[in-house]
């Protein structure tokens, strides 16, 4: 909609929506026509009915059975009339699709718990669990409907069936888990877990993964040698853990080689053909993350300050990733267990209670901070980067790899520009290898989506009946590839464009290149779209007032309060698009967050 020509005429003389608001028929059509002529409805029915049974053999040994059936039925029906963006004045289209997702979980849990000599608390758990999911779906698409009013409810009248299909998917996951808990005198807490998982998604011989873990917690504050007063330190706990976890999160049937159905015809008779689509990878197996954690929980200064500090190092091995392949192989991607990555980070949560505390006034603050660094530590064992997949050793897994814009070629650089095959007004990128040619060798790592750190601050202040609170959230040093910029900054002249500082001979800016009426998109335009999406955002502010009880008692009212809430009232950012938080690298920008101001009244009798 942002690309619509603002000079268009939205309505006809009779007040109906004018399908093509400008005389350029290829221009965007009227969004009002889309609203009037299209229906796209989705319904989801979700039934989740878990049941369980328990049996206690004695005081210590118990058995529990969980059965969790889960059925999700989805229906979609759509209709697009002739005068819509989808059909551009052509034939109307409609269709229905259904999908059933049936999941089932069974858990058999055997639990034993006992305390010996009052100080040794011991428990053991054995779990057998089985999960399965079956997805069935089907669709019918048609075109050329004789009357629009049917929407998608009488598809058999359509002139053409343009597509039908059905699909089936199934996966199983079987697990056996054993857990031991031991606690001594509230001081030492020990947990051992051993878990074996079998996934149908891997082939025979690779289905099973074993994932042990161990955790130790030590409550220092309970030790007799801990000579600090209860007032100064009321709780101090040190935690250390090591654990392995597995990931099988891929679509079923990835170990098979699968053919793609294609169509062709000989004379007037259609035929179905098959061509190779995915290459089999029977070696697929579990992705494993080995994580080491050390943490400290504390509560100090008369319980005024409490919080936790957590440091972790996680090594993920055999990452399940789609790997692009050179097209000459006849295949485009394969799911593989690829290399290793390392995540290191620190998380801090602090809670300060009653900074100033009187009968009428109190002030609480919560703070959180987290920082994570991610890097690829190994790829194929040959010490080389995989440029095609944009995986670089020592760098995060989701980097942006492209040319680096250094400005715009200016008039006085015309000669140099020409030697590179450019002219003044075009985007200037860095000749990284300095060989006098701009080509693919001049791409470089421009940054990553992962922010340096994120943090949050929550404040709550109460004074008598008045309340004031606000939440601030920040994300620092994150980049994105902005589709929004890409789509709305083509500088071609045909569609509406965001208002940018563009180059002309009279305006020798280095921001954006010279507009060009004969381009559909800007050459090297991707270099304009890497944006810093760091921000500080006031998530919400709430003012409230509760009428004091004595007043209410007289009115026979239990509770009466007013509040004013502002959601997302302020955002501080250098990003010039719609919303730094919801800018995405996806096909479309996400829906920006909404600013609201609301007032409320609570009345309880």
């Amino acid at each position: 909609m942002l690309r619509l020509n603002p000079l268009g005429i939205p309505y006809n003389d009779d007040g109906t929506a004018r399908f093509r608001p400008t005389n350029d028929e290829s221009q965007r059509v009227n969004p009002l026509s889309d609203l009037q002529n299209s229906v796209d409805e989705r319904y989801v029915t979700h039934v989740f009915a878990s049941i369980y049974g328990t049996y206690n053999f004695n005081d210590h040994l118990s058995y529990r059975l969980n059965i969790g059936p889960d059925l999700e039925i989805g229906n979609r029906g759509y209709f697009y009339g002739s005068e819509t963006t989808n059909n551009q004045g052509g034939l109307s289209t409609a269709g229905v699709s259904d999908s059933d997702v049936f999941s089932f979980t069974i858990e058999n849990i055997l639990n034993y718990a006992n305390t010996f000599n009052d100080k040794h608390e011991f428990s053991a758990t054995a779990v057998h669990s089985f999960q399965t999911q079956t997805t069935k779906s089907s669709y019918t698409n048609v075109s050329n409907l004789p009357y629009d009013s049917q929407s998608y409810n009488n598809l058999s009248t359509a002139g053409e069936v343009s597509g039908v299909g059905s699909n089936y998917k199934h996966w199983d996951l079987l697990s056996f888990t054993g857990r031991l808990n031991y606690q001594f005198d509230d001081r030492y807490l020990l947990t051992f877990t051993a878990r074996a998982d079998g996934s149908s998604r891997f082939s025979e011989g690779n289905k099973w993964g074993f994932f042990p873990s161990a955790a130790l917690a030590w409550r220092l504050s309970e030790e007799s040698f801990f000579n600090v007063s209860q007032e100064a330190v009321s709780d101090l706990k040190l935690r250390v853990s090591y654990g392995e976890t597995g990931n099988t999160g891929i679509e079923p049937y990835q170990t098979f080689s699968v053919l793609e159905k294609v169509e062709y015809m000989f004379g007037d008779s259609g035929v179905i053909g098959f061509i190779p689509n995915t290459v089999s990878n029977p070696n697929l197996t579990w992705e494993t993350t080995k994580q080491f954690n050390v943490g400290l929980d504390f509560e100090i200064w008369k319980q005024k300050l409490s919080g936790s500090i957590n440091y972790y190092v996680a090594q993920t091995e055999d990452l399940l990733l789609p790997r692009s392949l050179p097209s000459s192989s006849g295949f485009s991607t394969v799911f593989e267990n690829i290399g290793s990555t390392e995540n290191k980070g620190i998380e801090v949560n602090l809670s300060i209670k009653n900074i100033i505390n009187t009968d009428n006034f109190n002030w609480n603050v919560d703070l959180n901070f987290s920082k994570n660094t991610n890097k690829i530590t190994e790829l194929y064992g040959d010490g080389l980067d995989d440029i095609g997949n944009e995986w670089f050793l020592g760098n995060p897994i989701n980097v942006f790899y492209d040319y680096k814009k250094t400005g715009i070629w200016q008039l006085d650089e015309a000669e140099l520009a020409e030697s590179y095959g450019f002219e003044p007004g075009q985007i200037k990128v860095e000749d990284i290898d300095n060989n006098g040619i701009i080509n693919a060798d001049d791409r470089t790592i421009l940054g990553s989506e992962t922010p340096d750190w994120i943090g949050g601050l929550t404040n709550r202040i109460n004074y008598k009946g008045f309340g004031f609170s606000f939440v601030i959230y920040t994300r620092q040093n994150a980049k994105t590839y902005s589709r929004w910029y890409e789509n709305n900054n083509r500088l071609a002249g045909r569609y509406n464009n965001i208002d940018v500082d563009y180059w002309t001979p009279e305006n020798p800016t280095n921001a954006n290149p010279r507009p060009n009426v004969s381009q559909e998109s800007v050459y090297l335009g991707s270099t304009l779209t890497y944006k810093d999406v760091s921000f500080v955002r006031v998530r919400n502010i709430v003012f409230s007032y509760s009428i004091p009880n004595p007043v209410l008692d007289r009115l026979k009212i239990k509770d009466l309060s007013f509040n004013i809430t502002a959601d997302n009232p302020f955002t501080f950012t250098s990003y010039e698009g719609l919303d730094p938080e919801f800018e995405s690298d996806g096909d479309r920008a996400l829906y920006p967050s909404v600013q609201t101001l609301s007032m409320g009244l609570n009345l309880t009798f």
Binding site: N23, E25, S26, G53, Y55, L65, I67, Q88, G89, G90, I106, F130, E160, S162, G163, Y168, H170, W171, L174, R201, S257, V258, L259, E260, V262, Y264, M265, F266, G267, D268, S269, G270, V271, I272, G273, F274, I275, P276, V279, N281, R323, S324, L325, P326, S327, S328, G330, F331, V334, L384, D386, G388, N389, G421, F422, N439, A440, S518, Q519, S521
Partner: protein
Amino acid sequence: MKKEYKILAFLTLSFCLFITSCSLEEEPVSEATPDVIYKTASGIESGVDGTYSLLRDLYGIQSGFTLTTFGTDLFRHGKDGSYKAMDLYTSELNSSMTYINNIWTNCYLGINAANTVLDRIDLVEEISEAQKTTFKAEVRFLRAHYYYWLTLQFGDVVLKENETTGVETDGVRTSKETIWEFMKTDTEFAVENLEWTASETGRITKGAALHQLIKINLLMNDYASAESHGIELIENGPYQLQNTYADVFEYDNQVNSEIIFAVQYGTDVLSNGSGNQGHLYFTPAYDLYAGLTRDVTQGGRPFTRFRPTEFYRNLFEENDSRFDETFRYTWTYNNEESLPEGAAIGDTVIWEAEDGTYSKIAPNTDLMHWGMKKHDDPTRASFQDQAGFRDFFVSRLSETYLLLSEALLYQGKQEEAANYINIVRARAAKSNTELETISASDVTLDFILDERARELGGEEMRWMDLVRTGKLEERVKAYNPNGANNIQSYHTLRPIPQSQIDLSDVEFPQNPGY
């Protein structure tokens, strides 16, 4: 029920659930896997048909048109579209261009599809030997066809002779001469093992294979073989020129005696894929002018991509019927709402040229240029529909004559070459007129290229023909004002797609200059 029974029932139930839940077998019920499909006769046939289907990703699709039409002596860019650099030969014509990657990828999909059939067909017992041979001949023809595109567009490419069965990242470039040898063997196999007529329209025949073999012979400078194959095709094949050039492109005459091989499209929507979209790209933005609106009978939907050059427009003699059958240069008013004063629906549109003169002949600018009638698809239900139904002619008998004359020319047999060219020219003359008969001294490579332009312009051949004959740079400099100043000799090869280079774990050299 007693408590014990309840417990027993409960435990029994959970035990049953435990037992039934232990299978982790995966069966890809919904998926077609090679081990299921390629074990039967019908499966092998669908593998053969699948190999054909990838032709649609070359013929009748914008990427195929773009790589064969832009940057030639016959067409320059119109107002719209992203790939103008392929016409302008600027630095934007580089290894990241999507269409270059599309063509590369599609050819290798076709090659792998062919290899898969070839590697598996002998394992299927229920197919007769004769049928096996026919299937092999068809896919070997197609494999060579995909290599024809690859070697002409990119030069040395990866030679794949077998199905890819695992992750493969170490393909290297094989010299195009070696690959031509391979293509020749494949195509010869098709010539030897196929009949003049196939079981169904659109399948490869001996004739189609011979036609391809002539092109490969020409590539390999084996003019004697090209000549003998040309003569065999013309004299023994069941093909005949249509009476008029118009008949060749008559919409209701798509299967005619002149067509040796055509990529199949048709009105059955479920088998038509994205259709033949050739009708879109040559159509100018006529709908932006007063008294005109989009109309399937006047070019349909205007994509305004390819504008004929002045050189192309002036190639035709007065009596050449191909001029009128090729170009759309007049339009008629069809829009009551915006009719200019004094005009009526059905009148021929009067155009104002830049110099203020008026004419019934359309101007030829980037926005409003001449259109092409060859790809018209007037039976589409709506002018907006992109999927057309017209077969895409890949080889026609008239081209065989011109290829043969080329083979003769290179052997110094201008006299015979002239005779064959004159057959094509004789048919092209307007009724009751004649085109000038050419003589041996007229026959030059340039003349043949001009004749090919008149006969075959806009049919997805030109760029590769100019590369094949070594004339691309010279002719673009002479006749294409957009590319003239920028084209260099390295432009006779496309850049290798960057993804191929980046994803290879062996050195995969880029073509020089890029």
